[in-house]
Point group: D3
Amino acid sequence: MSDYTYQHFNVTFPPERQYVAHVEINRADKLNAFVESMWLELSTIFTRLSSDPSVRAIVLTGAGDRAFTAGLDVKAASEGLLSDSNTASDSARKATQLRRHIAEFQECISAVEKCEKPVIVAYHGISYGLAIDIGVAADVRVCSADVQFTVKEVDIGLAADIGTLSRLPKVVGNFGWVKEVALSARIFGADEALRVGYVNRVFKNKEEAVRGALDLAGLIASKSPVAVQGTKELLNYSRDHSVAEGLRYTTVWNSAMLQTNDVTAALLSGIQKRKPTFEKL
Amino acid sequence: MSDYTYQHFNVTFPPERQYVAHVEINRADKLNAFVESMWLELSTIFTRLSSDPSVRAIVLTGAGDRAFTAGLDVKAASEGLLSDSNTASDSARKATQLRRHIAEFQECISAVEKCEKPVIVAYHGISYGLAIDIGVAADVRVCSADVQFTVKEVDIGLAADIGTLSRLPKVVGNFGWVKEVALSARIFGADEALRVGYVNRVFKNKEEAVRGALDLAGLIASKSPVAVQGTKELLNYSRDHSVAEGLRYTTVWNSAMLQTNDVTAALLSGIQKRKPTFEKL
Amino acid sequence: MSDYTYQHFNVTFPPERQYVAHVEINRADKLNAFVESMWLELSTIFTRLSSDPSVRAIVLTGAGDRAFTAGLDVKAASEGLLSDSNTASDSARKATQLRRHIAEFQECISAVEKCEKPVIVAYHGISYGLAIDIGVAADVRVCSADVQFTVKEVDIGLAADIGTLSRLPKVVGNFGWVKEVALSARIFGADEALRVGYVNRVFKNKEEAVRGALDLAGLIASKSPVAVQGTKELLNYSRDHSVAEGLRYTTVWNSAMLQTNDVTAALLSGIQKRKPTFEKL
Amino acid sequence: MSDYTYQHFNVTFPPERQYVAHVEINRADKLNAFVESMWLELSTIFTRLSSDPSVRAIVLTGAGDRAFTAGLDVKAASEGLLSDSNTASDSARKATQLRRHIAEFQECISAVEKCEKPVIVAYHGISYGLAIDIGVAADVRVCSADVQFTVKEVDIGLAADIGTLSRLPKVVGNFGWVKEVALSARIFGADEALRVGYVNRVFKNKEEAVRGALDLAGLIASKSPVAVQGTKELLNYSRDHSVAEGLRYTTVWNSAMLQTNDVTAALLSGIQKRKPTFEKL
Amino acid sequence: MSDYTYQHFNVTFPPERQYVAHVEINRADKLNAFVESMWLELSTIFTRLSSDPSVRAIVLTGAGDRAFTAGLDVKAASEGLLSDSNTASDSARKATQLRRHIAEFQECISAVEKCEKPVIVAYHGISYGLAIDIGVAADVRVCSADVQFTVKEVDIGLAADIGTLSRLPKVVGNFGWVKEVALSARIFGADEALRVGYVNRVFKNKEEAVRGALDLAGLIASKSPVAVQGTKELLNYSRDHSVAEGLRYTTVWNSAMLQTNDVTAALLSGIQKRKPTFEKL
Amino acid sequence: MSDYTYQHFNVTFPPERQYVAHVEINRADKLNAFVESMWLELSTIFTRLSSDPSVRAIVLTGAGDRAFTAGLDVKAASEGLLSDSNTASDSARKATQLRRHIAEFQECISAVEKCEKPVIVAYHGISYGLAIDIGVAADVRVCSADVQFTVKEVDIGLAADIGTLSRLPKVVGNFGWVKEVALSARIFGADEALRVGYVNRVFKNKEEAVRGALDLAGLIASKSPVAVQGTKELLNYSRDHSVAEGLRYTTVWNSAMLQTNDVTAALLSGIQKRKPTFEKL
């Protein structure tokens, strides 16, 4: 296994769950709040996992008892942002610097969505702002009963710009609810998140939520990686395209992918009632 | 405060809720059914509120006990329509007149969506046809327990063409339910509306629904208007675009909007534990 | 009534429900599993019903007690597919043959969506793989309490390519749930299907599910066919387009459709408290 | 004929060319430079002509010998703009005012494109900046030999925002040339405009250019207005959509329009070798 | 070679040009005007050629000296159309029949575009209306010096609806010229067609135009069919999509297609200075 | 000036042309053919220039007398590609590796398009394959009289996949010509390139072509960088979007950019008849 050592993240490969990577946000003393170096690391990690043939599913969690993440480290960010934009003397030039900065930040978070392997987020405790931006870029979300979510950005004077407003309406099919929580920045808990479909399941505490996420990751990792990665890609493509476009893209995608040995492996093991093994991808 | 006097609408500014406008459909003797002059007025009102710097959130309700609105005043409409289209002698020319007429009507209702400030609809009683067309153009919907909804149009021989069929599938993420209620024109009530996500909340009667809507509007109006109006715009944009398009538009939007003083005001008041005040917008 | 005799489908016209067609998958001894000739027949049937003026709504069910359909007859399919693709000697040529094959198969299933009349699926028992591909191309889905659904494809080493991955995210507004069931291939039952909005209603057994579907079809068939078919078309169009595009298409569509006599018929019968009759379409 | 009297435009109906309107920009002493009241008038005029049944084709020209238009009256505009935007105290609020202002200005110019009747522009002399914005919103452009075009905006420190950058790449299929003239603001003349396809024809002087435009308008006005207006609509729609979308919209459009009496009138007059007459539209 | 015998088309395979099919419209006594059975045959022919492994490029010409085609056989069409639509009693139902009819006709002509092999049209003489609809669905157009083109439809009271208005603006990058010829129905000749890019080359007479087309077809047919068919598909896809979408689709397409043996065959024959041979496709 | 030293490229800043960067492909002994390290360097260079405030326009040329570039170094590429893809044992896994590889290569070339500063390519001599892929990602193209272009890919058994097929139809508005040169791989020269609009201008030799490109770059670099960079962005955005989308994006873009001091600087220097100076961007 190659070396996955990072300053603000623990990346481990639980031995009892083959092909599963566990990424943990590791800045518990600051409620896992994000400084700039962290989103750059996040991007690096998920880009590497995306093409690592030893990985087939990923779980993302936050270290410590209190928070998945409290979001952006506002103090650090405002210092950085202000000093950056201060170098420009007119509003148009400041806008250019801000635009480049937002785009770069967005691209880091989008690494979670672009990761070819499914990503499951297990939330617990404080899960504010960036916690949603990251979660909507993942594939499946679960949480512990004590979770506190909020789309926090309007409370600090800005519209969320790292992904929540673009992805949340496509993750949760209740546009009025999305509007309300994004416009009011009110906190919502596990039950509400489950009811509207933001999370797939609520566990009684963090430990069980993480275990539940790892179980699901383990199940997915036991399937054909050709089938799993194609399913993620085609679902994400379809979200953003018409049905006709989705079908067309699917024909081309599967014209190569159906030539995999995994189909035979899966069918044979089905007949023989044994667990199939699949080549790495 | 400028003069907002209209024939069929009451527009008031509740003193206890700063920056909130309350628009009331005011034709209770006809169950608030719409004649043409009413949708023209509706458009004028929301277009004005959209750029009125004294307004940050809007509540829309219906006067009287019995109905939010019974929908189009079919009697008046059919007279108007027939007399209009009778001036053309062939079907193509009739079609041209109808097309212009529908487009104009749509544009009036779309003024609710284009309004830069969030709009909260509080339904009660009879809420038929046009009640849905208007509601899906708003941002958040609540209702009283006695509400009766129906996508009424198929029962008068036509497919709904003022917005319901274009917007409802994007407001409620249950396409089978949307199909069923639109194809059958059956009535559904508050509980069902809540369950499928058409309304955010059910109140026990009209009075409480209106108060609940005003409370939410008041809460939103207390936030940074730069943040709130950006959030509405970006959510509506994202509904109609791919995630990649949504993110790109967001970078450009926020490249100007992050230069607001509201961020500092919000952060400082957060530190100082006091309510921030924001410049008008 | 013209002749609708097919090898693997029963097409009947229940006398007590005017304008309703009942299509039954009829290969109960094989759990209604699909061989290639069946999806060709399915396409032929729905294409004919689409323009049959005696038909206004359609119910689709599966024969026998055990299954709506177990999905693709994998044994038959793998034989066919392998022999087909074996005629090409390099991967690019195999891909071309597979692409044409998938496109043709997709087009057959899309005949259900392209059918101008609403289609209601009544599921029962085993409803695997292709059962979902067909269901998401229909308009409304109901089921019996004993139903067992699964998006089965990853378990046979492939990403679903006949429609599920393109349409399911637009049928069910809970993208995390869609991801989970598509990536894990786990079985889900009637209650879960109802909760997430995959089915509109659960009946206690197959008989009642079929009757319920026929009742809904009968109700829809009693409405103006101009209104009903326009509603289906405009809802499907809007699913795949922005709100602005949906509104524009609607103006053109209704510029012809509002010239129907059905509006007058509907309004008059409303006034006269009698059931309207509408000319065929 | 209804009254078309405006401060800055002459609108006439040349008696020798039935159904043709001639709109002339009338501020020759200022090289027909545009102040805000002029683009508001322009919008009003084209919106009225769009639905005026006595009009089937429109010619747009500039008064005087020297200029079609020198573009925006920069002096007036900068005064207006600065005073407007000065009312806001932070960059975000200024941006909001500017955005509303640009959108309103764009909408005025778009009235030329939205006009249901074909619009032919006859350029002469100085034709700078706004001259291109207006021209690309029209259908056909001709010019006199002495014309001088320039996409002037970069020379005053801004990217053109009233239509040129959005429409010119779709009017002229030479993207490198579009880039060059928009980035360099260099002047180009009649021959170059003809060679790249910006104008359809070059006339030796203004008088002949105007007569040539009126001749073409007269020819178009002699055709079926159902056919002509449908052709304009479908071409503009197709420019902005895929071929598949264009074909689909066309089927719906013509499903009403083929029911016109004009087809019979055109066919009969063809057989009878006489000029057809068509009902107004 | 399988049998390609049709009533109104000659399909031949010139022995001196391997893998080239020559389709000739064969109703010279009626100027090759199209009746309904002809466009159905056209569709059948191109659909078959599309997957015929003995065919790699196709030339389409018209029999006789006088015309490629005079377009729709208006007399026959108007009889058919009128009798069809007469069976419906209201405008909405007539519209439904017309819509289905136009869609079916469009789909027949689109078979030329959907054909996986490149299609080269060689025009001569009268080439009216449908001649353009068919030509814009092809890949390359050449003509003889005596050709006479016209987008004829407005002269018979309708907007062209079988493809010209949707495809011509994407074939010729001079939108003003497209507008002018479509709105005026004026005739244009070979030189103008060459200048605006509607045809690639003008030959002095029909014989040479056909030979030139066959030469180009022969050249294309000598290349790798994997490369050629991919190039047609990717160019057509890109025409209708953004650059980003085009690039993404290309990666998936070529992920299978680069696995062809044709690359090695082409490279080796290049080194060995001999003509490569490629397996059928 | 920061250090721009690269193995295969010379990056210089001609002193007589302020704010212009000159990038030269520097592998003349191999006809400037590209190996993988070169496209990685190309991407790095243009990404740096994109945000380098000392740069406002860029010229790209090829070293030596004989070639701009002969395209991909096929020998090197086929070794790399084959060894890469050989590590996978089934076609689906090979496809995955190829897909990632193509996407990465595309992204490198797209750095030219994403570069915020205008890029002018000066071609000479052999300009094959990748020469077109790079050129279509640039903004303006010029060439010397001796240039030889070809879309070479079909001759080596593949459809071009690094940008030509996605961008060329949007650069040159003559789709038939694009089809012909891409399907036949025939060579075309300077005159033809000028006639169809692939290049803006032909110079008599390489030296003059480079000087001409630098002159144009110098002219552009003398303008407001806010205006120039906005113009590039809005033109590229508009190419890929509908007019309505282009206008909307433009309003938001310019809401920040119109707040630049460059407008005042440009206006004042215009009045004072002197050359304006603009702050860096």
